[in-house]
Symmetry: C2
Subunit: 373 residues, 2 copies
């Protein structure tokens, strides 16, 4: 394999494929990127076993030459080193040349690098096939689905399925759900297919895909039995599902609530932020005390002291109610709902409560209260 390539385009593609590399992989070969050059261009593949990214650089774009002096072939090269070398290039182009199938020679300006490499055939064979239920969607919608629920997924590996976003499609309607056992986030949207499927895509990988499609118009997704395949621009991403059965969200979300507080999202966020200063060492727990005449956010810490703040504008009609919770959970839920005003809907002091939009019901954020004694 031999080629001369534009530095900026090469670096951009390397940065995409690199997103799949992990510093903690068990298989040393996965520190490498696979490079393959054929008549369609240069293909770069990176993987950490859970996520595999393949992206391509065409030989020409808009009649402008991007890759020249080509001799087709392939190689495995350390991804981190190759990217650093390309990043530090101060010229417009660089040349890439394999010597004896074991050494990659990279040259630009007065600099020359010899990188130990291996044959492309030694790379594991990851499933990148377009198989399963095909879904087409605006890239912006996919990002919104992920942003609305990803933060509520578990970050602990004990129960892998809880680290996932549960995608469930029935009759042309898609529901995306996450839960870490203390809270739950759910968003629904219409689909362009009426086929049913269930897929548990690790939330971190879904966020990675959302980052990569930023700037794209559309994304095609193939929900297969063991993996989801995301196709956009010149890139294909394959994500392995999390193992296990996802909890039944419908059984967790209450059908109705008894107490409703309507409140300005920003005022609630600021008050919780200030008051939780005094409960930083106690999971940011704050107490919300509601009555028809006043709403107060407060916190207490035996070592440091206490804090409280009156909310000036609100709507609440019912018996007084007092609920304590992790304020960062509620803050994330309020931000994910994304409206100027939000409704907090309660069943009682120790029952999970909902943070909802005042406008539509497609998003539900559920938080479990905390005892303060």
């Amino acid at each position: 394999m031999i080629f001369t390539i534009r530095k900026d385009v090469f670096l951009k593609a390397l940065n995409i494929a690199n997103r799949a590399l992990s510093s903690k992989v068990a298989l040393p070969i996965l520190n490498s990127l696979k490079l393959e050059l054929d008549e369609e261009g240069l293909h770069i593949t990176g993987s950490n076993n859970d996520i595999t990214i393949k992206t391509s650089v065409p030989l020409k774009e808009n009649d402008e030459e991007i890759i020249s002096n080509t001799k087709y072939g392939g190689a495995l090269v350390n991804g981190r080193l190759l990217t650093e070398i390309v990043r530090k290039c101060e010229r417009d182009t660089l040349t890439f040349d394999i010597f004896d199938e074991t050494i990659v020679k990279i040259k630009y300006g007065n600099s020359g690098f010899n990188l130990n490499s291996a044959r492309a055939e030694e790379y594991p064979d990851f499933d990148m096939e377009e198989k399963g239920v095909e879904v087409g969607m605006k890239a912006a919608l996919f990002s919104k689905l992920v942003d609305t629920v990803a933060f509520a997924a578990s970050t602990k590996e004990q129960r892998p399925v809880l680290t996932a976003i549960n995608f469930e499609a029935v009759d042309g309607r898609l529901a995306c759900t996450t839960t870490d056992g203390f809270r739950l986030a759910r968003i629904e949207a219409d689909l362009d297919t009426s086929e049913s499927f269930v897929a548990n895509v690790p939330a971190k990988m879904a966020q990675e895909v959302a980052r990569l499609i930023d700037g794209e118009e559309n994304v095609r997704i193939y929900f297969d039995t063991k993996k989801a395949l995301f196709v956009f621009g010149k890139t294909i991403v394959s994500v392995r599902y999390a193992a296990g059965e996802f909890p039944n969200a419908k059984a967790i979300i209450p059908k109705s609530f008894n107490y409703f507080l309507e409140i300005n999202a920003q005022e609630l966020l600021s008050a919780m932020d200030r008051v939780s200063t005094l409960s930083l060492e106690r999971d940011n727990i704050v107490t919300l005390k509601m009555s028809e005449s006043s709403v107060e956010v407060s916190s207490k810490d035996t070592q440091n002291g206490s804090a409280s703040e009156e909310i000036s504008v609100f709507q609440y009609q019912n018996e007084p109610l007092e609920v304590s919770f992790n304020s960062s959970y509620v803050a994330q839920a309020v931000k994910a709902v994304g409206t100027t005003d939000v409704i907090l809907a309660f069943l009682g002091e120790m029952k999970p409560f909902a943070v909802k939009s005042t406008k539509d019901d497609s998003i539900v954020q559920l938080v479990t209260p905390r005892r303060t004694y």
Copy 2:
């Protein structure tokens, strides 16, 4: 103690005093700031035993009221919490009030905070006296002295004196020296006093002072027997000396050299940066190969490969010489010298070599070569 204070001025003063607080102090009381209000204003003191910072806010500035509704007194308050609470204040002023000598009440807008506090008298008595040899200096010169040598101080605590900048004054001339055993940095400057003194000021603390005096015109320094006192603006900083005897720099710095390479600083820095990509796991070791006809920077790593770069513009007249070294040490030395071109002066392959300015001799940076086999 009672007062109403302008938020912006209070926060700025808290941020200064907070620089002395450390998360690793043994004495819990040092998590507190000492606040004292008298007819001269509000005095805020923070300390971690090694560095003590006292800064003041006047009652008025340019006829504008900064502190009002005053009742003189003092208190100890958790510095991190107090600063967070003041930082999150969205009003122009806030009120501060001590209740029963044990609770500080802070109020702004709809928010109220009760912080547990202690009596000011319980705070340790740190020596903040203006004693010893007095030196006056431009703040910019002090920062230059610190920036030129601080990075070459040791960061390991085994030999505390090596973590210090050695200030040594003789006959109106000041020399500042640091060494971590592998390299040495030294800068000289004229003093406004002919008194002699030696002071080992921990480099990290000297850097803290340099950060704090940024924006000031002048600084007065009192070099005492056990501490240095820095006086500037409305702030006094006391720094405890590092224990131990500093090595004799004059005995370490060679009197003369045999081989001289003159080279553009930026070209050397870029070449070392690129080439050291291949020796990241080997302390960034690179080899400089000099002859009258060519200069080459190279590196080698058995696992990953090798890299080399030709230097295009240089001056070198002597027998060929090959020297290997930690390129980040040389990069820091080149940057500290701060000139467009630098001279690398050698005695031989394995002898310490100097990085010097082409223009003046007040700065010397010394680096010990490394074996590559």
